[in-house]
C-alpha cells in the first residue's frame, strides 16, 4: 500500500523523498545530554526544540529536557541577543544546571546571530558554564550536529594543565545508544585503562525509575572530566563522522594525539579498539575479553552457513553503517546496497574500498534518501534490510525482513539499553540477524520443508 516508488532510477534535483537523515540540532541536543547536569538549549523557535525532544523521547522512551529561546517574529528581525540573555538568566535561576549547552537552529543561523558575543554579554552565574555550537540544518545532518557539539565541549572546556600527559584515554563514542556507551566503558574497565568518555549519555537517557522525576539524571561526563581531557595521553575517536572533529581539535588545542577508529561493531573493529588501547597503555588483553572473543568466533562458526552469500542492504548513520558493512561481510554476507543520508565523500570511499576488497559489486551512496534505496531494492532485491524504523515501509512494500539498528527506532523498545558494540554486541547482532532470517525461513517454508532443527 505504501508503494509509490517507481523502479526506473532517474536523476533528481529537487530535494529528498523519505529522508535517511535529520537535522543538526537534534544531534547537538543528544550530545549535550551526555554532559553531567547539563541543560541543552535550543536557540530558535519553539517548534524545532519540541520536535527534537519528541523524537529523542520516542527513541529512548525517557524524558528529554531542553529549553528554548522561544523566538518571536520580532526576534527574527532584530536578532536573538535579548532571547539568549533572558534564557541564560532563566535557565540558571529556574533549572540550575552546571552547564547550559546552546545550539542554533536554521532560523538563528540564517539571521546570523553571533552566539559567542551574546554569551559574553549574558550574566552567567559563578561556577556555571555556557557552551555553544553552530548547528545550521542546511549543512550536514544530525551526525554533523552531534560532532559540532562534541567539538564545542573541547573548544570551551578542555585544558592541558599538566606538563606531562596522564595515563588515561579519551574516548569519543559517537552517536550511539547509552547501552553501547556502557559496553565501551565495561571494556575499558576490563582493560584497566583509566578513561574519560565524552559525551556519555548513559545514566541520562536510560535512567532508572525511582518514583521521582529528575531534571538531571545522574549520568554524563562532568565538567572537570571535560577539562581534564586535555591531559590525556590519547584520544580514541570511534567513528569518523561523529567523533573526528573533536579529537582533532583536542590535538591542536592540547596536544593530545588522536586515533580515528571505526565504531567498534563486529570482530575486526573491536579488535582494533582493543589493540589501540593495548599498544598505547602497554596492557594485556584480559582473559575475560579473550574469552568473549573466542565465544563470538565459536558462534560465527556454528552459524556461518545461515549467513553465507545472503544479500543485505544497510542504511543509516555513516559510522554505524560503515562498521556494520564490515561486520556482515565478516559473516559471509553480501552488502549490495549501502546508503547514508549524511553527506560525506569519505563514506563512499571507505565502503567502496571494503566492497572492492571483497569482490562485491554494490550500490553505495552518501547523501541519499530512502526513495533511492527503495528503487535499488526493486532492481536488485535482498534477503535482509538493516536500518532504522523508517525502513519498515520498504520492508513491507518489498516483503523483505527488516532488522532494526540505528537511530531512530520508534516502534520497538529496549534496543537503546542493549549494545551492538564490542564482542558482546556482535553476539547480539548475530542473534538478531539469524533470528530474522530463520523466522522468515520458517514462515515461508512449505510443510515438507518445515524443520525442527535449523
Amino acid at each position: 500500500m505504501l508503494n509509490h516508488t517507481p523502479k526506473e532510477i532517474q536523476e533528481r534535483k529537487g530535494g529528498v523523498i523519505n529522508p535517511a537523515k535529520t537535522c543538526q540540532p537534534i544531534g547537538a541536543m543528544y550530545a549535550a545530554l551526555g554532559i553531567h547536569n547539563c541543560l541543552p538549549h535550543s536557540h530558535g523557535s519553539q517548534g524545532c526544540c519540541s520536535y527534537h525532544r519528541m523524537h529523542l523521547t520516542r527513541h529512548f522512551r525517557d524524558p528529554v529536557m531542553a529549553s528554548t529561546s522561544s523566538f518571536t517574529e520580532g526576534a527574527s528581525v532584530f536578532g536573538g541577543g535579548a532571547n539568549v540573555k533572558a534564557s541564560v538568566r532563566n535557565v540558571f535561576s529556574i533549572y540550575n544546571p552546571d552547564v547550559m549547552a546552546i545550539h542554533t537552529t536554521c532560523l538563528t543561523e540564517t539571521i546570523g546571530d553571533d552566539i559567542p558575543s551574546f554569551i559574553a554579554d549574558a550574566e552567567v552565574p559563578d561556577g556555571k558554564t555556557v557552551i555553544h555550537a553552530n548547528t545550521p540544518s542546511y549543512v550536514g545532518s544530525h551526525i554533523t550536529g552531534f560532532s559540532n557539539m562534541t567539538k564545542a565541549m573541547v573548544g570551551y572546556l578542555a585544558e592541558a594543565t599538566d606538563d606531562s600527559k596522564k595515563e588515561q584515554a579519551n574516548v569519543i563514542p559517537g552517536f550511539v545508544n547509552p547501552g553501547d556507551m556502557r559496553e565501551m566503558k565495561r571494556i575499558m574497565n576490563l582493560m584497566e585503562v583509566p578513561f574519560i568518555m565524552f559525551p556519555d549519555t548513559s545514566g541520562v537517557v536510560d535512567s532508572p525509575m525511582t518514583g521521582e522525576f529528575s531534571m538531571f539524571p545522574k549520568g554524563g561526563t562532568t565538567v572537570e572530566q571535560l577539562r581534564d581531557t586535555g591531559n590525556s595521553k590519547i584520544t580514541l575517536a570511534l567513528g569518523e563522522f561523529a567523533s573526528n572533529d573533536a579529537a582533532v581539535l583536542l590535538d591542536r588545542k592540547c596536544k593530545v594525539p588522536a586515533k580515528i577508529l571505526k565504531t567498534p561493531i563486529g570482530i575486526k573493529a573491536t579488535d582494533e579498539f582493543l589493540m589501540a588501547l593495548r599498544s598505547t597503555f602497554a596492557k594485556e588483553i584480559p582473559y575475560e575479553l579473550e574469552e568473549e572473543r573466542g565465544q563470538l568466533v565459536d558462534i560465527i562458526t556454528d552459524t556461518h552457513f545461515h549467513f553465507h552469500g545472503k544479500k543485505v542492504a544497510i542504511f543509516g548513520d555513516p559510522d554505524i553503517v560503515i562498521a556494520l558493512t564490515e561486520f556482515v561481510m565478516s559473516l559471509g554476507m553480501v552488502p549490495v546496497h549501502v546508503l547514508t543520508g549524511t553527506p560525506g565523500k569519505s563514506f563512499e570511499r571507505q565502503v567502496k574500498a571494503m566492497l572492492l576488497a571483497a569482490g562485491v559489486e554494490g550500490n553505495v551512496k552518501a547523501a541519499g534518501d530512502l526513495f533511492l534505496l527503495h528503487q535499488w531494492l526493486k532492481n536488485e532485491p535482498v534477503d535482509l534490510l538493516i536500518g532504522n524504523t523508517y525502513g519498515k515501509y520498504i520492508a513491507r512494500a518489498e516483503d523483505i525482513p527488516l532488522m532494526r539498528v540505528g537511530f531512530p527506532i520508534l516502534d520497538r523498545s529496549v534496543h537503546s539499553y542493549l549494545p551492538i558494540v564490542g564482542y558482546k554486541g556482535a553476539l547480539r547482532l548475530i542473534e538478531m540477524i539469524s533470528n530474522t532470517l530463520l523466522e522468515r525461513q520458517d514462515r515461508d517454508a512449505e510443510d515438507e520443508d518445515f524443520e525442527l532443527v535449523m
Binding site: 537535522c23 517548534g47 519540541s50 524524558p63 529549553s67 518571536t72 541564560v88 536554521c106
Partner: protein, 457 residues
C-alpha cells in the same frame, strides 16, 4: 554526587499568571502568548499546526520547503487512516542546503514540484514554508502559481513559517488552504445536498471519522466531507454543498467553520464524541437541527442501544477507579473539556488541567467544570507538571509523546490522547476503549515494583 535539584517554581515570575487554582483568588489566566525564553516548553510551532491539520489529505503531495528536519520529524507521525491513496504517508522535502540559503531556494522548489508531479501525478501539491523560508525570502506564492500553471493542477503554498506565532497560527494557515480548496470550481454555488453535513476537526485517527459516519448514517444523515480525516482533493471540493458543519476539534477548525458560514451560508455547531454523555448530547443536537421526527427517533434508538451495550462496562470501570485522580495535559482546550467530563463518567476526579493552546473562553469553561482546588495552567513546563501532579496526588496523566516518560518516571500511569495513539477514543466504542486504556495502565502490576523494592527498605 550532588543532590537532585528541585526546580523552584516561584522564580519563574513570568509564569505566575499562567497558573491558577480553582477557589483561590480570582484572576484571569494568561494564555495564547509566547513561551518564556529559557523555559522547557512543551509547545510546537506554526508549521506543526498546519501540518497536523492538512496531513490527512490523503492524495496530496505534502512538500516541505526547508531544511530536512521539519519534514523528517513530521513523517507519518499521525495514525490517520485512509480508504484511498496513501501518498500522504511519504515525506517530501526540498532539503535546503547552504548554497540554497545563500542564493535562494526557489529553483530547487520548482524542480522538486516538477519531479514530484511527474512521479506521482497528483491533483494537489501543498507546499509548506518553514522558518527559514520566511527569512531568506523565497517567493512561495510565485513559485506555486507558476508550477500550477505549468502542470494544470493546484499547487498551494501553506504559509507556516514557525516563528510567526504558535500552533494556533498554523491552524489558521491550514484553514486558509482548506477554504480555498472548498471553493466551488464553477461560478454558481453547488446545490446543497439534503441531510448531509461536513464533519470538521476529525483526523480519522484509528478510523474515528468512520465510526461517526456510521452513527450518523443510522440516523439518516450523510457525511459530505470530513476535514480532514481520509479526505482527498475531490471530496474537499464538495464542501460547500451541505447544510451543516459540525466541529469536533474546535481549536483547529472554528475559523474554517466561520468562513464557510460567511461564504456558503452553512451554519455550524460544536460537538464532541468523547465519552457517552457528550456523544449522546452531540447526536441529539445534530438530529434536532434537521427538525425531522424520524431522525430524533432513530437517534434515541441508537443511543439507547449503544448505552445498553456499553453502560455496564463504564459502570464497572467506575467502581474499579473509585478514589483515583487524573491530571490532563493536552494540546487544545476543547479536548481538555471533553476529557474532564469523560473522566467524571468513569468516576475519576481531575486535579490538574493544562493545555498548550487553550483559549480564554475554554479556560472559563474548564474553571466552571472542575472541583475546588484543581490546578489549571497554560503552556506548562515539565517541572510544573511534576510539581502539581505530585502535590495533588494524581494517579494518572493523559498527555502526548513528551509527557509519557515524565509520568512513568514519577510512577504515574499514562494514557496517550494525541496523534500517536492507535485506538479510537470517539463514540461508544471509544468510551469503552478509554475505560479499558485507563484500566490497563492504572491497574498494571508495574506500579507495585516502582513503589516497593529493596531500596525502599
Amino acid at each position: 554526587m550532588k543532590e537532585d535539584f528541585r526546580p523552584q517554581q516561584d522564580e519563574i515570575k513570568e509564569r505566575r499568571d499562567s497558573i491558577s487554582v480553582k477557589g483561590g483568588q480570582k484572576k484571569q489566566l494568561k494564555c495564547d502568548t509566547h513561551s518564556v525564553s529559557g523555559c522547557v516548553s512543551q509547545r510546537a510551532c506554526v508549521y506543526c499546526g498546519a501540518r497536523v491539520v492538512l496531513n490527512p489529505v490523503t492524495d496530496a503531495v505534502h512538500l516541505v520547503h526547508g531544511p530536512i528536519g521539519c519534514a523528517s520529524y513530521t513523517w507519518d507521525i499521525r495514525g490517520s487512516l485512509t480508504s484511498g491513496s496513501s501518498l500522504y504517508r511519504n515525506s517530501f522535502s526540498t532539503d535546503l542546503q547552504e548554497e540554497d540559503i545563500i542564493f535562494g531556494g526557489e529553483k530547487k522548489l520548482a524542480s522538486a514540484i516538477d519531479e514530484l508531479v511527474a512521479k506521482h501525478n497528483p491533483k494537489l501539491v501543498l507546499v509548506y514554508s518553514t522558518c527559514i523560508v520566511g527569512v531568506i525570502g523565497d517567493d512561495l506564492d510565485a513559485v506555486c502559481k507558476a508550477a500550477a500553471a505549468r502542470h494544470g493542477i493546484e499547487v498551494i503554498p501553506v504559509q507556516s513559517s514557525g516563528f510567526i506565532g504558535n500552533k494556533a497560527a498554523g491552524y489558521r494557515a491550514a484553514c486558509d488552504v482548506l477554504l480555498r480548496l472548498s471553493l466551488p470550481q464553477t461560478a454558481n454555488p453547488l446545490p446543497k445536498q439534503q441531510y448531509t453535513i461536513n464533519y470538521l476537526g476529525d483526523f480519522n485517527l484509528a478510523g474515528e471519522a468512520w465510526m461517526i459516519k456510521n452513527y450518523l448514517a443510522e440516523i439518516g444523515i450523510k457525511i459530505n466531507v470530513v476535514f480532514t480525516g481520509d479526505s482527498s482533493y475531490e471530496t474537499l471540493q464538495k464542501a460547500s454543498a451541505t447544510s451543516l458543519n459540525i466541529i469536533q476539534c474546535a481549536g483547529s477548525m472554528t475559523i474554517l467553520a466561520e468562513q464557510m458560514e460567511k461564504r456558503f451560508q452553512i451554519p455550524y455547531m460544536n460537538v464532541s464524541f468523547l465519552g457517552m454523555e457528550d456523544t449522546a448530547e452531540s447526536l441529539r443536537k445534530i438530529a434536532a437541527f434537521f427538525e425531522n421526527k424520524e431522525f430524533n427517533k432513530n437517534t434515541e434508538r441508537l443511543i439507547a442501544r449503544e448505552e445498553a451495550k456499553v453502560g455496564h462496562v463504564i459502570e464497572s470501570a467506575k467502581q474499579l477507579f473509585a478514589g483515583k485522580k487524573a491530571a490532563i495535559y493536552v494540546g487544545g482546550g476543547f479536548k481538555a473539556i471533553s476529557l474532564i467530563k469523560q473522566f467524571r463518567e468513569i468516576g475519576i476526579d481531575v486535579v490538574m488541567v493544562g493545555t498548550q493552546t487553550g483559549r480564554k473562553d475554554e479556560y472559563d469553561t474548564i474553571g466552571e467544570l472542575v472541583n475546588e482546588g484543581t490546578v489549571v495552567l497554560d503552556d506548562a513546563n515539565p517541572s510544573e507538571l511534576e510539581k502539581f501532579m505530585t502535590e495533588k496526588g494524581a494517579h494518572l496523566l493523559v498527555g502526548g509523546v513528551k509527557e509519557r516518560p515524565l509520568a512513568y518516571k514519577l510512577g504515574i500511569a499514562f494514557i496517550d490522547h494525541n496523534h500517536d495513539r492507535k485506538h479510537p477514543l470517539s463514540g461508544y466504542t471509544g468510551a469503552v476503549n478509554f475505560a479499558r486504556e485507563v484500566e490497563s495502565t492504572l491497574c498494571s502490576p508495574v506500579w507495585k515494583y516502582a513503589k516497593e523494592g529493596p531500596h525502599h527498605g
